[in-house]
């Protein structure tokens, strides 16, 4: 790839294509390569318990990328993301489930198949909901998608063959590809542990998902999304087909949510219908806002921060004496963790509306023009 001119005038773009390229500066190319190398080597360097958390963060990032497409890029507020994550999780569990087991199962072991299946079924539900989105705007849409979470949870509670019922739950889909069983621990035999293998798997899926999201964002579809977000009437005047692109936004977002749902419980191996509550939707909203609206890298940063939050909260009682680690005393770390979601959302929106990406952007700009202030 040629960057700028061959004679090294950095950031001199001679055509539109260079400006819109995926890695449009040399620093970005090197930075992304370095991050990928570090991420790929991380399982060898970091203890397994931290790896579980980071792996969870990567899966959250996949789901949050979907929410960022619909809410960040296309500006359609969705509080119903948890529902689509749930649809994905159950689709994967059913497709990969044991046909002779207690709950529904089709016995498809081939991972790419159930991963895609989970995404597609969730996308189908997204496409079914989308017509509502085209009729409604802004906060009406937020409330309807909130209703979706409650209705969805009712269905998950009620359909016992699918979900195992409230507080019982069922086993999640086990990732397995070309004879590699990702959920089997081979650490004691000198092989890879479960945590290491799952981290690599999640990383691979996230990289594919992130590149795809970035490509959507810088294509015709992404520009249409941005136009709808900034002013839908103006977008309509310019010839953007609102219905068409809103349906695309919801379908894509639900696809991401479905894939994230399929992978979300592979580490713990079990999940209950209680998981897909409003709290999960709020968690995804928090990731998008804390990370940075309409940014891919910010979403990933936000997801890792939110995933690490329980761990950070868990470490706190050692430093903050009045915080208890027992759930029956107040104030305890679980309450602290929840309060932190709220505080982080409010604080970021008030003081750094562009999220973690905004902070990074500021640091970058400072050093770019160093020693001048601008």
């Amino acid at each position: 790839m040629t960057i700028g001119t061959p004679w090294g005038r950095p950031e001199l773009y001679t055509d539109y294509k260079q400006d819109m390229a995926l890695l449009n500066t040399r620093a970005k190319t090197l930075g992304v390569a370095a991050i990928l190398v570090v991420a790929a080597l991380l399982p060898l360097l970091v203890a397994d318990d931290l790896l579980v958390i980071l792996g969870g963060g990567l899966v959250l990032a996949i789901g949050a990328l979907g929410l960022n497409l619909v809410t960040g890029y296309a500006g359609q507020v969705s509080l119903g993301h948890a529902f689509f994550v749930g649809v994905g999780a159950y689709t994967a569990a059913v497709m990969a489930g044991d046909p002779d087991g207690r709950y529904l199962g089709l016995g498809i072991d081939f991972m790419p198949l159930w991963l895609l299946g989970a995404g597609l079924i969730a996308a189908l539900f997204g496409a079914l909901v989308a017509p509502l989105a085209t009729r409604l705007r802004g906060l009406y849409l937020a409330i309807v998608t909130l209703g979706l979470v409650f209705i969805g949870q009712y269905l998950f509670f009620e359909w016992n063959d699918l979900s195992g019922g409230p507080q019982v739950g069922r086993e999640a889909a086990k990732p397995e590809l070309f004879g590699i069983e990702f959920t089997v621990d081979n650490g004691f035999k000198g092989g890879w542990t479960e945590e290491q293998k799952l981290f690599w798997l999640f990383l691979a899926v996230l990289v594919i998902a992130a590149v795809a999201a970035r490509n959507v964002a810088r294509s015709r579809i992404g520009r249409a999304f941005a136009a709808i977000r900034d002013r839908d009437v103006a977008a309509g005047v310019m010839g953007v087909n609102l219905t068409h692109y809103k349906v695309i936004a919801f379908t894509l977002s639900s696809f991401y949510a479905g894939v994230a749902g399929a992978l979300m419980y592979s580490a713990s191996g079990h999940f209950t219908p209680e998981s897909f509550s409003l709290l999960m939707s709020v968690q995804f909203i928090a990731i998008v806002l804390i990370g940075g609206v309409a940014t891919v890298s910010g979403t990933i940063m936000g997801a890792l921060l939110i995933a690490l939050l329980p761990r950070i909260a868990g470490e706190l009682p050692a430093f903050v004496p009045f915080l208890s680690s027992s759930a029956s005393e107040h104030p305890n770390v679980f309450e602290f963790e929840q309060v932190m979601y709220g505080v982080l959302i409010v604080a970021f929106l008030l003081f750094e509306p562009r999220g973690l990406f905004g902070i990074w952007h500021r640091v970058r700009t400072y050093w770019k023009s160093f020693p001048f202030s601008y």
């Binding site: 009729r135 909130l146 029956s328 929840q338």
Partner: protein, 295 residues
Amino acid sequence: MTQFLGAVAGGVGLGSVYALLALGFVIIYKSMRVISFAQPAFMLAGAVLVSYLSPSIGFVPAVVVGAIAIAGVALVVERVAIRPMVGKAVFVIAIITIGIDIVVRVVAGAFIGRDPRQVGDPWGIDAWEIGGVYIAHRHIAAFLVTTVLVLALFAFFRWTPIGLAMRASALDQEAAMAQGVSVGAVFAVSWALAGGLAAVAGVFAASGRTMDQNLWHIALAALPVIILGGLDSLGGAVIGGLLIGVAQQVVASYHRQWFPGLDTNIGSITPYLVMLVVLLVRPYGLFGTREVERV
């Protein structure tokens, strides 16, 4: 028939709670064009506060003090977190209110504690039996108090200067400012009113049962109410609240006969189902102002 009338009586009680909550949502929406997702937290906080106050100062004073205190909390929240964001995208402000909701709700929830806690209302689960129909005292009390509050609110908007200012700024904010209306004061009053109404609603929602963390789900069911009534219609909020309350109780009561195959009572999601159906037919609710838009 007695089953139906009993369900309707219960529904009117529940609907009164919804109506109070929905009024809060609508008042804030009319002044700022924002839905405050912090209402559930104010409702829970109000109920918890009253449960602490009523043993020492009596139930009625506790409700009054609780409502005023929560109105004060709402004022502070509005000033600190919402006012700096005025003029930003409504979606951003709505999300901020979600953040506030989480913080306030968790802090209030921490005070519930392990022991069963009640708001100390004088009605409990007492009921009159009229021709085989049981009508709980608390439902009648909720309905009467809601009626009084609604009349007081309408009088407030109709005859007081600040009420006039609120109506003016709801109609056209810039024109109201040009006439000397302090829009900041309008925002503050609307948040305080919404907070106080939520606290009263919380007391009635919590009466006849012990307090638990899930009380705030009731306030979320008031969201379909404002959608049904229309986001900017006070009358719609009251009528929508009663309609949804009655519909929910009737469905909950007849669940066994109508849906014998379903284990979980479908009453809990009835408000959302009604909302979906209404929105498909009338995207701006039953009494909401239709946005005129030409492309």
